[in-house]
């Protein structure tokens, strides 16, 4: 930070403050305390704070510090402790997301397929009924009151009998176990038919359908099936609406080189299909994506430029009176603005591996997370922590790989992250790190994840500085967290007319949030 006289900066200036870090953003200084409260200061105010200590003579600033839990006083203590408890000791939902690979087969051959699928005819990689039951029995050993079972693949609908059996069997077991249980399927939606749709509707299975944008983007990544996917999506969507189901089908897309020139068109495609949100995620370097990297791979800078374009366009849409959100922004900003922990496994410390999610391969092998399972498919079983039917939940959670991943993804003890202003909002991925560098904890500044997360947060906080944007973000968070949110950094306009345009769609959990 330019202009600070380090000679004047004294430890004692911070003695009544809650631990915090800072970063220069858009001409201001963003300060964030360890538990996620944030505050923008003007540069001279920040300089004054670090050089001279708390500005007792400046009531406005002191009130800001108090309101945002930046000082530890009798008044803020309860709020700070509450925040810290949520951040470090939130014990709710331990291992609630369970990802099942019903088959590795897929009828498509997408360029970036992380799942490393095998051709549709290779039946050796289908889960058997016997294994499926063992998987469900393992899932119910997890202590979480809320269980979310997600089918991924391969294309889960290719092993339809087993998917059906898992849902029926889990519901049967749950009659005794009495958990709150939900099912999601991540599917390419080319294989949906009436019989399947009836069953999915009857069991309120949430559908997550892959769509990368208009045909000229989607078909380049995923083969010539855009028209079919859109037709099926509309059919499923209409049926869910007509049946009055609470959770409507959601779309998920992947960003590749082919997406880059079409940020606006991709958002428009989602809107034209009735979706009121988009979730922008970069492709991982895991799996086949690695082999096809020259064709589809993008640099972190390219991704961030694309992300900024999406966010600006989405904000523009909202300013025009239509409600439309970006999910990654919601996950980060709900932590900052509402102190809400979205439980998104990739933005947690420690990350969601094993504690948040488990992945079950078609043969019953259990991995710390789905990315770990993909690595297993590439021949590296470092993160395999057991096998259903042989290992208990305790064995899985006490496995040395589980402990190693938890330790390596604890941001507070990661050199570099421990001093970073974004620490309360960020997450690091040991599996991706290990895949990219051979180390669980490489120098964080060299990792792709750091560059992307830091860049995204810079983009969001820069936008947050503009009152009309922060009003939009506030609405998103309010809607997501489900309560009135007060953010004193933001200006909230009086008229609530935009809310009338909010469609009823709810978010899909296939976005790895738990």
């Amino acid at each position: 930070m330019n202009g600070i006289a380090i000679k004047k900066v004294k430890q004692k200036h911070f003695e009544k403050m809650v631990p915090f870090s800072f970063r220069k953003i858009g001409g201001y200084v963003l300060i964030v305390n360890e538990y996620g409260n944030y505050l923008f200061l003007e540069e001279p105010d920040f300089k004054d704070l670090v050089e001279n200590g708390l500005p007792y003579g400046n009531r406005r600033l002191m009130e800001d510090f108090q309101k945002h839990n930046m000082i530890f006083t009798k008044e803020t203590r309860a709020g700070v402790v509450d925040k810290a408890l949520k951040r470090f000791r939130d014990p709710a939902h331990i291992t609630n997301l369970h990802i099942i690979i019903a088959t590795l087969r897929c009828n498509l051959k997408c360029l970036y397929c992380q799942a490393n699928s095998v051709p549709g005819s290779t039946h050796g990689t289908d889960m058997s009924i016997e294994t499926a039951e063992k998987v469900v029995d393992t899932i119910f050993q997890a202590p979480s009151e809320v269980l979310s079972i997600e089918f991924q693949g391969g294309e889960p609908l290719l092993n339809w009998e087993v998917v059906k059996h898992i849902i029926k069997y889990a519901k049967e077991v749950n009659k005794v176990k009495n958990r709150s249980i939900s099912f999601n399927i991540v599917s390419n939606h080319t294989l949906i038919d009436d019989e399947k749709l009836d069953f999915l509707v009857e069991n309120e299975v949430v559908m997550c359908m892959s769509l990368d944008g208009p045909d000229y983007v989607h078909n380049k990544n995923r083969g010539d099936n855009h028209a079919l996917v859109v037709k099926n999506y509309r059919k499923v969507f209409d049926r869910y609406v007509n049946e009055g189901l609470e959770r409507l089908p959601a779309l998920i897309g992947t960003v590749t080189k082919h997406s880059l020139p079409y940020a606006r068109e991709i958002v428009d495609e989602y809107r034209s299909l009735g979706s009121n949100s988009i979730f922008v995620r970069p492709p991982t370097t895991l799996g086949v994506a690695q082999k096809n990297w020259e064709k589809i791979g993008i640099t972190t800078d390219e991704f961030l430029e694309f992300y900024a374009e999406i966010i600006d366009y989405v904000l523009e849409i909202n300013h025009g009176g239509t409600y439309f959100t970006e999910t990654f922004a919601i996950y980060i900003l709900s932590k900052a603005i509402a102190g809400h922990e979205p439980g998104y496994v990739d933005l947690k410390s420690p990350c969601g591996a094993a504690l948040g999610q488990l992945a079950y391969n078609y043969n019953g092998d259990v991995y710390t997370c789905d990315e770990a399972r993909m690595l297993g498919h590439l021949g590296d079983d470092t993160f395999k922590i057991g096998t259903c039917g042989e290992s208990t939940y305790t064995d899985l959670i006490m496995h040395k790989a589980t402990k190693a991943v938890c330790l390596a993804s604890t941001i507070e003890s990661t050199p570099g992250c421990s001093m970073c202003v974004y620490k309360p909002y960020c997450g690091i991925c040991p599996v991706q790190n290990y895949h990219e560098s051979g180390e669980l904890s490489p120098n964080v500044f060299t990792t792709r994840r750091h560059k992307i997360n830091e860049g995204i947060m810079d983009i969001l906080f820069e936008r947050l500085l503009i009152p009309e944007n922060s009003a939009v973000f506030l609405k998103w968070i309010e809607d997501y967290v489900g309560k009135r949110v007060q953010d004193d950094n933001a200006v909230i306009p009086d008229n609530g007319s935009e809310r009338d345009n909010v469609p009823e769609e709810k978010e899909c959990e296939c976005e790895k949030s738990n």
């Binding site: 380090i6 200036h13 009544k16 403050m17 008044e75 060299t446």
Partner: protein, 190 residues
């Protein structure tokens, strides 16, 4: 260090920039530069930093970028040290070992009468912890506070309406299931 001619050498006073801060700043540059840090042989109060961009890396303003980073890091270190007491107090409450062990004991079991009593005992402890901290705070030196800001806020401006009493807060947390997973709702209501 093999220097391609485009490297920089900087000197930092150890009085203002402790070695820890310099190393912390270096951390960020390791991917793009070769870095050496050493004490000045002729002046023990100076640290020398040499940076040389790796092949293919061009960094504009390398020197000013590093100086900014070293300054930021030094300030962050002072914040870290200055706030350590408050951090300890917060951690003391959050990671109270008794609460944690009780939480994990209860993770998968129903709450029986005995552990119900435990929870109440626990909340007592929490109250005591908070009381201790309050007491400690009484002994803070408010000499630097000519305007009396350190006087409890509510004495000066009235109780802000959105701020709860700490005990109330703990109970609310219990209700939300945050203190003991899934179980406290019943306890507080009973």
């Amino acid at each position: 260090m093999k220097n391609g001619g485009n490297g920089v050498e900087m000197h930092f006073s150890t009085k203002l920039f402790p070695a820890e801060a310099i190393l912390g700043a270096c951390h960020k540059f390791l991917a793009k530069c070769y870095v050496r840090v050493d004490y000045d042989e002729s002046d023990a109060r100076k640290i020398i930093v040499q940076l040389k961009p790796k092949d293919g890396e061009t960094i504009d303003n390398l020197e000013s970028e590093f100086r900014d980073e070293a300054l930021d890091y030094s300030v962050k270190l002072k914040i870290l040290k200055g706030t350590s007491r408050v951090r300890d107090q917060i951690f003391h409450i959050v990671f109270n070992p008794e609460r944690i062990s009780l939480a994990s004991d209860n993770l998968q079991t129903e709450l029986d009468t005995e552990s119900r009593a435990e929870v109440f005992k626990l909340n007592d402890k929490m109250e005591k912890l908070l009381a201790d901290i309050e007491e400690e705070e009484e002994s803070f030196d408010y000499e630097d506070d000519p305007l009396g800001i350190a006087t409890p806020w509510e004495e000066k401006y009235g109780q802000p309406d959105n701020i709860l009493d700490p005990r109330q807060q703990i109970e609310d947390q219990a209700k939300k299931g945050l203190v003991i997973p899934t179980l406290n709702g019943e306890v507080v209501e009973s």
